[in-house]
Symmetry: C2
């Protein structure tokens, strides 16, 4: 068994099955990044695939945005490890009937995303295929990587930025509405939090991950990897303005709506009790680490069962 | 312009357009591997995507073979750089209706391929998608990487193994025949030539690449990158036994059939004139480097125009 302890869900069942099958043919699976020690530094590597019709629709995004978003999603894993970006490799498939320009526009977005955090496009592979598919692999480096394990009872649980914006855009599209522009940008143009990740590691972060499946799911992964219970007060969860508006429409609390939204690519970190939260960027304390297992969500003092997004559910 | 000088063909037109669009947002594009200097070693990284219906069909291969072949194709780029394997990251898409076992079987093949050359599965990403697609990214390391550039007039041109086996299998399938088992194995289970690549670098290889598009196309890429002409005697090209048989069927010379076949994943190297070819593995001298540009193919003393496989042609 070479996977770290993983949370629930069919995607993680698949990872567990792969780790069991591979045995010693695999390294440690289930972290945001693979970490490889090289002298005094660690390489951090992560791959992330974005498929048309599964992760995005072409009516929603420009080609440049599709390239940016796929790359930012991969870079977000480097942020979760506290790593600095070196670059990205892009494996792209595009339908044969498309002009060559499609590749250049996708890569334009990818290049902007990786250069926004100081990296470059390192290489790639191009293929035809029935639809757009972008597998982006990022390389980073760090002297002191963060992991999903390491949270201890008593630690505070903190989140960067505001959540639920990407979900608010999705909800609008799914209901035939045009999303609020702020929400659309949150979906189309997520900013990977590499500076914040490195800063949180420097401040002693005990455990960290990025919110790709949504707080409701990802909190469970942090709990499982660390062997602790995570307790989150939904009233404290910072919700994007568009998420608050969508929550109002559906009669949910804003924090509940935001916690169930995936693909915000903010960071969730367990910080030692003495951490004050004085930061150069938005960071909110939303709960704490307790003994036990699993993630518990409280709204006005009552426990609420929550689950996040799983592509295989 | 950040691409190395590239050969002809629509795939390379796309790479040129991407390099122009990206400008300083890209490293050096067009090599088999991205190379990143880290202290006294170079990291070598390459990504390679295999799409159902484009690179393979499920009737032809088992899931384990699909995983092996996709991984071996990526590892072959490490061989071309003379690098040793560290590991692979796998971004897989599989239709939602498939059992979880499909992922495990694909990764079983990937794990066997990477462990056959001393690496491990480092990580990955799983998604649903309309068909099987495998984007495999490999990481290697080397103290002295080989490049596509560096060949000089007077160098000998050498190739590992025998060519055309994968094309013989394809030809049989396309004509509704069952391929010879040797040919099927050449297509389904290519052996990445990492030991040979490192050995050739140690013997002073001036330039090297792996034969993925076929000798007819790849020789032109080596010529373009090195700013030389490559002259190949098709009578000297070592042909796989099944390639000889298929060539007989179609009335081609065996060397011509073999030179037009892609996906053999053998190595093509320009070696200094004093290199004798005494090797611990099959290696054949098939031509030489001359002043000028482009690849020239000679059969019984007459020049023959040849082109290789291009997914976008």
């Amino acid at each position: 068994m070479t996977a770290i302890p993983l949370g629930q869900g069919p995607e993680f069942d698949r990872i567990r099955a792969i780790a069991e099958r591979l045995g010693s043919r695999a390294g440690v699976l289930g972290e945001d990044c693979a970490l490889i020690e090289m002298g005094e530094t660690y390489l951090a590597l992560s791959t992330d695939v974005s498929v048309e019709g599964v992760h995005f629709r072409r009516e929603w995004l420009s080609l440049e945005e599709i390239g940016w978003r796929a790359t930012a999603a991969a870079l977000s894993d480097l942020a979760a490890a506290g790593a600095a970006a070196v670059g990205v490799l892009a494996a792209l498939t595009v339908p044969a009937a498309e002009p060559a320009e499609t590749f250049a526009a996708l890569m334009d977005g990818a290049g902007s995303a990786v250069s926004s955090v100081g990296g470059v496009v390192l290489g790639g592979d191009l293929s035809r295929g029935p639809l757009l598919s972008l597998a982006m692999t990022v390389l980073g480096r760090t002297a002191a990587p963060a992991h999903r394990k390491g949270a201890r009872p008593g630690d505070g649980l903190w989140v960067t930025g505001a959540l639920g914006g990407a979900r608010a855009a999705l909800r609008a599209w799914e209901n035939g509405r045009r999303p609020d522009e702020g929400a659309r940008v949150r979906f189309a143009h997520p900013e990977p939090r590499l500076d914040q990740g490195a800063w949180l590691v420097a401040q002693g972060a005990r455990a960290m991950l990025d919110l790709s499946d949504g707080l409701a799911a990802d909190a469970g992964h942090l709990a499982a990897a660390s062997g602790v219970s995570v307790r989150i007060d939904l009233g404290l969860v910072p919700a994007d303005p568009a998420a608050r508006e969508e929550a109002r429409r559906s009669g949910e609390s804003a924090g509940t709506f935001a916690a169930r939204g995936g693909e915000d690519y903010e960071l969730l970190a367990a910080m030692p009790p003495e951490f004050t939260g004085a930061t150069p960027f938005p960071l909110t304390r939303i709960g704490r680490i307790e003994p036990g297992s699993g993630a518990r969500f409280l709204l006005d003092g009552a426990e609420l069962p929550l689950s996040g997004y799983d592509h295989f559910a």
